[in-house]
């Protein structure tokens, strides 16, 4: 798939983020322009999509994402998301998005308190979101996970809404962390905000064991390009 070279993806860096440069490399490799957005900035500088990458924002103190959500950049991310801009949270980024209330539910420590760092088989469930273009429901992907707090929880009503509205993005084939309904990723009702525990930026070439992560990142670039065409530049 050819990616419009004009798309710029902002990658947020909190103190303690550690997957920012991997994410930037992976996106640049696909032909995107990238911008590192520091968490104390108040503007997204006109980017077409935002990725909140993995790591340990603010040391994960108190709860994962609990401090990060109050960073100045998060107000801009919330406005951007509210205007329909594509926002993807990977691993710690997923945790930040739930704490910020941009996605429902929360991420708890893994069942059995096991840190999981392994290739993970995943099944796409919904493709009506910014990581869905070019993929089909029930497509299987292999993408690594690397987390201690990936155990997705939400109340019964929320889970029912997620299922009914097609907001379950992907499920684990073999649940590694106790996550409810085997959920590995979800999206908001509009589909423009996605959170997932697997790290697509670590599965970008067969040399790394899988290139399946490229499919998700390519879909993000496609979404960024098409959303921009539809609504023009966002007020950042």
């Amino acid at each position: 798939m050819s990616v419009p070279l004009s798309v710029t993806v902002g990658v947020v860096q909190f103190p303690g983020t550690n997957c920012d440069l991997d994410t930037i490399d992976a996106l640049a490799d696909l032909g995107a322009r990238t911008a590192l957005l520091r968490s104390d900035e108040t503007s997204l500088s006109g980017v077409d999509a935002v990725v909140i990458p993995g790591g340990f924002a603010h040391g994960d103190y108190l709860r994962t994402g609990a401090i990060a959500r109050f960073s100045p950049i998060m107000d801009a991310v919330a406005s951007f998301a509210g205007a329909g801009g594509p926002v993807v949270g990977i691993c710690n980024g997923f945790q930040v998005l739930t704490e910020a209330g941009l996605l429902p539910g929360a991420l708890r420590p893994n069942a059995g308190l096991a840190f999981r760092c392994q290739p993970q088989r995943l099944i796409m469930v919904s493709v009506s979101h910014v990581l869905g273009h070019g993929l089909s429901p029930s497509d299987e992907l292999s993408i690594p996970i690397n987390h201690f707090e990936g155990n997705y929880v939400c109340d019964r009503g929320t889970l029912q809404r997620l299922r009914e509205n097609g907001q379950v993005v992907m499920r684990y084939v073999a649940n590694p962390n106790g996550s409810v309904d085997d959920i590995a990723g979800i999206c908001n009702g509009a589909g423009n905000v996605v959170g997932l525990m697997p790290h697509p930026e670590r599965a970008t070439t067969d040399l790394l064991g899988s290139a399946d992560g490229r499919k998700l990142l390519e879909a993000l670039l496609y979404a960024a390009a098409s959303t921009r065409q539809a609504v023009g530049h966002y007020a950042a």
Partner: protein
Amino acid sequence: MNRWDVLVEVSPRAEIADPAGATIERALAALGFAGVSGVRVGKAIRMEVTAADVSEACSVTEQMCDRLLANPVIEDARIELRAAAQDHSR
């Protein structure tokens, strides 16, 4: 203004699985402590709060819990307030 010693106890809500609590419960059983159940692991956050009166101290602490200290999706918070002891060292 008065000072209060405040203890905020944050614990996983009853319906939320608590793997740390479950692990400790199994370890206690393995050590021979029979009859232990319902082990839950939370956090204790202690602080001093200066406020005009007890209701202000309480309400400001509740706001802290709502905004930062606890995530209502997964956690409950319990607040304990005690008038701070007089400081006799000065």
